[in-house]
């Protein structure tokens, strides 16, 4: 099974998907329209590229910082949370799911994902 399928089987996950770092394609499953999923994948990709650039700047200030290379990021809203690890994104209903479980699962599953953004 793919990570997207695994994520969708977890409590509270309303949608999940993958995007290409070069920005030319995405795929998703769950409760989003194609157009909204395209928009979500573009926003997730943009933030991922941004935090990777910022992580490299941070590395100059403090080599071997535990933040570098960035693995992902999370935005937590009042009802929904967006979790992104490498090139996989996931939208979670806060009332139904566990952010700790989802981040832990994504970190573990994506542990060997290359950090070269390719």
């Amino acid at each position: 099974m793919s990570i997207v399928t695994d994520l969708l089987a977890k409590p509270g996950v309303v949608a999940a998907g993958e995007y290409a770092y070069r920005g030319d394609r995405f795929s998703y499953r769950g409760a989003l329209t194609e157009e909204y999923a395209r928009m979500a994948s573009i926003m997730c990709r943009a933030t991922t590229m941004g935090v990777n650039m910022e992580g490299r700047m941070l590395e100059v200030f403090q080599p071997r910082s535990g933040l570098q290379p960035p693995r992902g990021w999370v935005v937590h809203g009042p009802d929904y949370t967006v979790c992104v690890m490498a090139n996989v994104f996931c939208m979670l209903d806060n009332a139904q799911g566990s952010i700790n479980d989802i981040v832990g699962f994504m970190r573990q599953t994506m542990a060997k994902a290359p950090s070269g953004l390719i």
Partner: protein
């Protein structure tokens, strides 16, 4: 309201910090000065301020365009690094603004080791309400 000392009691806490919306570091607690220093925290605070603002703009736009609710306002932004994570929030500022107060509290953040990180506990501390007067 959350304090730096409360945040430092989270499992795996390495540092806690307060910063302005512009990213300027205001105060900090550092558990391992040999691993994370004030200069790093200052850049990290600037990074987090920028990402929190971008995420807030995106959540606002997302809700307007999709009519899906529950994303805005962003309560916390978390960066998950290779070994550490940083969780930041400006939620108290929004509460103060909503109450019409003019002196707003700073943004707050905590750096956690990933192995022990409890993101939900960090969110709960950062979201603690100011007791009613």
């Amino acid at each position: 309201m959350a304090t730096l000392d409360q945040l430092m009691r989270l499992p795996g806490a390495m540092a806690a910090f307060e910063f302005r919306g512009s990213g300027e570091l205001l105060d900090q607690r550092i558990a391992y000065p040999e691993r994370i220093n004030e200069t790093t925290l200052d850049l990290l605070a600037h990074m987090c301020a920028a990402n929190l603002s971008i995420a807030t703009m995106q959540a606002r736009g997302w809700e307007k365009m999709t009519s899906m609710k529950g994303f805005y306002p962003i309560q916390e932004f978390t960066l998950v690094g290779f070994d550490w994570s940083v969780v930041v929030s400006g939620l108290h500022r929004e509460q103060f603004k909503g109450e019409g107060k003019t002196h707003l509290p700073p943004f707050m953040g905590v750096v956690l080791g990933n192995e022990k990180a409890d993101y939900e506990a960090a969110f709960a501390i950062l979201e603690e309400q100011e007791p009613a007067p």
